[in-house]
Subunit: 109 residues, 2 copies
DNA sequence: CGGTATCCAGCGCGATACTG
DNA sequence: CAGTATCGCGCTGGATACCG
């Protein structure tokens, strides 16, 4: 986690990218911006992300205070993920990025 | 370049992050948003980025159409980098990210 | 000054298997 | 269902040296 570790040095753009720059974090955050989701639902929404990676990325987002994890003591177990208020503060930027990404893709050969 | 290569698949957030997610790209773009810069100037602005990495990241940004590279046939050689119009279209988002990054850092222990 | 070339470490990430 | 555990590969990026 070299990238995430150095959160305090460098400029703030780096800090932000360190938080959302993980392989799947952008998409995870995007889907969570549409509402609370269970682990299995996220898995289905990110078919090419392995279970292990999904877990890891969610844990990091949780540590960074963007995502809240709620475990329900049921059988079978249920775990729900949702954005924290701080996480939600990133959503507008994420949507801008998404829009920009669409324009970028339209330029491709 | 696994990340950059798959620009066409996945959601657009991924595409955008694939373009600006490189280790130094965010900062390079940020500095270039303040005006045209020579290679050596960028080096001084990113002291912890090696010359090799700076070159690589600039080349990728150039390929992605965000940065224009101009070589002046002088001695000693002079090379200037500036944002393309398309690159400039990313600047507002970058500034939002920067502002968000500052808030993020203020939350840190 | 503004680059290549070369070599190489580390870790990001995937694949697979097992568990409460 | 929602995870951990373990193993290993490949790419990212660092160090260093050389070039027009």
């Amino acid at each position: 986690m070299a990238r995430r570790a150095e959160g305090k040095s460098g400029c703030s753009v780096e800090s932000a990218l360190a938080v959302i720059g993980g392989r799947w974090k952008g998409v995870v955050l995007y889907w969570l911006s549409t509402g609370t989701l269970r682990f299995g639902e996220l898995r289905r929404l990110l078919p090419s992300c392995t279970q292990r990676m999904l877990t890891l990325q969610l844990r990091e987002l949780e540590q960074d205070g963007l995502v809240k994890r709620t475990v329900y003591a049921e059988v079978p177990p249920r775990v729900e993920y949702e954005l924290t208020p701080f996480g939600r503060s990133l959503v507008p930027i994420l949507l801008d990025l998404k829009a920009w990404g669409e324009r970028y893709r339209r330029r491709l050969p």
